[in-house]
């Protein structure tokens, strides 16, 4: 697939569509490609962290650093695959999987008490103390039937989050 060209062939589009399990329409993929080219300033074929951070709305997101670890140096195919979790056609399972990946930064398949605390720290910043965060987390974990020592797996996440309606859809602007 052409890395530096700003033209996508039909073949390329189909390949990308397959890679993201048809969660985006071909028009959406073309739009995403235009956006990719806009972010990838010197047409290297991938987007660096710095280029992601040039979007102020992204830079001011509390989870931006965590997400950057997942998308730094991402090429177009993976870019689309990453965003496919936000497609309206994506299943709840797919979305929860992405949420799990954000928590599980060391990729060992388990989310520990410490991992959740880290994410809470990103989200609340200087407005909650470490003690407050620990206290809140221990309390809700206990009520859900877990302990401080439990490690949550993807199945646990599905069990906990599967009930609530996840509002995790992003519309791709198509001209």
């Amino acid at each position: 697939m052409g890395t530096a060209s700003s033209m996508l062939t039909q073949y390329d589009i189909e390949e990308v569509q397959e890679h993201c399990n048809n969660l985006f329409s071909q028009q959406e993929i073309v739009s995403l490609y235009q956006r990719f080219c806009q972010l990838d300033r010197n047409a290297k074929g991938f987007i660096s962290s710095d280029e992601f951070l040039s979007v102020p709305e992204f830079a001011m997101n509390p989870l931006s650093q965590r997400l950057l670890k997942m998308v730094d140096g991402i090429n177009f195919k993976d870019f689309v695959a990453f965003l496919s979790a936000f497609s309206t056609k994506a299943t709840a399972h797919h979305k929860i999987e992405l949420i799990f990946k954000v928590y599980d930064s060391d990729r060992n398949g388990k989310v520990s008490f410490k991992d959740i605390l880290e994410v809470l720290k990103d989200l609340s910043g200087p407005f909650m103390s470490d003690e407050q965060r620990e206290q809140v987390l221990s309390q809700v974990l206990k009520e859900a039937g877990y302990t401080k020592e439990s490690s949550l797996t993807l199945d646990d996440f599905i069990k906990v989050l599967g009930q609530s309606e996840l509002k995790m859809d992003v519309e791709i602007p198509v001209d």
Binding site: F58, N61, I99, I116
Partner: protein, 367 residues
């Protein structure tokens, strides 16, 4: 109290009708405040924050301001293509050489008069005006001025929206302004140092941190001076693509002067006058203008505004921005233009963090 503003992801990004009162985009929370006891699923559910991040990756209102919006290609069939080819020949081989000649001619006259005059006198407005006429003619500028031009008085500044360096030349053509400009490298810098100096321009450097105070002082001094040229300021601080306007910096609005808004709108049918400083150098931009058919623009002089009692400088700046944006058909966007060159301050992130922390702690109280 925070407003309860349920908004879906897509409308959150369409800041075409932004909340002008909220300067920081964290003014509107994106999800409804949930009620009830805090449970594990509430803590683990980071989907709203993730959606905001993904939404920003997919489309954001800031980069939109600096995107060169290409016009639809119209030369796509057998009949129109030869016409377009003919047009290209005319533009590059007839118009362009003619303009270069005209410009060189103008420069020769100007320099032969300017250099001796410059060495003898402090400033000469008429000559400078002449060179500008040549400049504008060199790309066949068709400028239509509307509205009564405010009479020149002391304690008055002019503000305008910014699309390209030629904004200044378009406005200079009619009135002698002193402008505040970013120091540029290369031949433009040379021009700035020699010719523009005679008009009484003020320089600034975006990259210097202490610069702001120095510039503020220079502005004040200039405005106090009785026989200085009226000051022209572009409060956006950077070139925007003439479809949007970014936040105005308040520097121009805290000088205690009357502010005369000027709106500039370029007609894109002939050429896109937006100088995308990331994509092309000024020289290339100038060449693009000179090989086009014409630069057509409208300039509106709007009613001079004064700071209302009880109005802060920021509110004053935004009010004038609205007047200009409405006249020129620009969509307002709540971003600081300087974000083009630097990262947003951590304060913006803190707003969201504070909201989250408040929410968690409050729900913890509820039993």
């Amino acid at each position: 109290m925070r407003k309860n503003n349920p908004k879906s992801q897509s409308t959150e990004l369409e800041l075409d009708q932004p909340n002008i009162e909220d300067y920081l985009p964290d003014g509107h929370p994106i999800h409804q405040e949930p009620r009830g006891k805090l449970r594990l699923c509430d803590l683990l559910d980071i989907s709203p924050t993730l959606s905001e991040a993904a939404g920003a990756i997919v489309d954001d209102s800031f980069l939109r301001c600096f995107k060169s919006i290409p016009s639809e290609p119209w030369n796509w069939n057998v009949y129109l293509f030869p016409l377009w080819c003919f047009g290209v020949v005319v533009r590059y081989f007839v118009l362009f050489p003619a303009r270069v000649l005209l410009l060189s001619f103008g420069w020769m006259i100007f320099l032969s008069a300017f250099i001796p005059v410059h060495l003898l006198l402090k400033r000469d407005n008429n000559l400078r005006k002449n060179i500008e006429v040549f400049f504008v003619a060199s790309w066949t500028g068709v400028v239509k001025y509307h509205g009564p031009r405010p009479s020149m008085r002391p304690k008055q500044v002019f503000v305008a929206n910014h699309t390209s360096m030629i904004d200044f030349i378009v406005l200079e053509q009619m009135t002698a302004f002193a402008v505040i400009m970013q120091k540029h490298p290369g031949w433009v810098g040379l021009l700035q140092n020699t010719i523009l100096e005679s008009v009484g321009c003020i320089w600034f450097n975006r990259t210097e941190a202490k610069d702001r105070e120095i510039v503020a002082r220079k502005l004040r001094e200039h405005v106090q001076g009785a026989d200085n040229n009226p000051l022209l300021i572009f409060p956006e601080g950077t070139c925007v693509n003439n479809h949007y306007s970014v936040m105005f910096k308040k520097g121009a609005f805290e000088l205690g002067c009357t502010v005369c808004p000027v709106a500039i709108k370029y007609n894109k049918i002939f050429v896109d006058a937006f100088w995308n400083s990331r994509k092309q150098s000024f020289t290339k931009h100038l060449l693009q203008l000179m090989t086009s058919w014409a630069v057509v623009c409208d300039v509106w002089y709007l009613e001079p505004q004064n700071q209302k009692p009880g109005e802060t400088s920021i509110e004053f700046a935004e009010r004038v921005r609205e007047i200009i944006s409405q006249r020129a058909g620009l969509k307002m966007v709540p971003w600081d233009g300087y974000l083009k060159y630097s990262r947003p301050s951590p304060k913006l992130k803190e707003g969201k963090q504070r909201d989250f922390a408040d929410l968690v702690l409050r729900r913890l109280e509820e039993k």
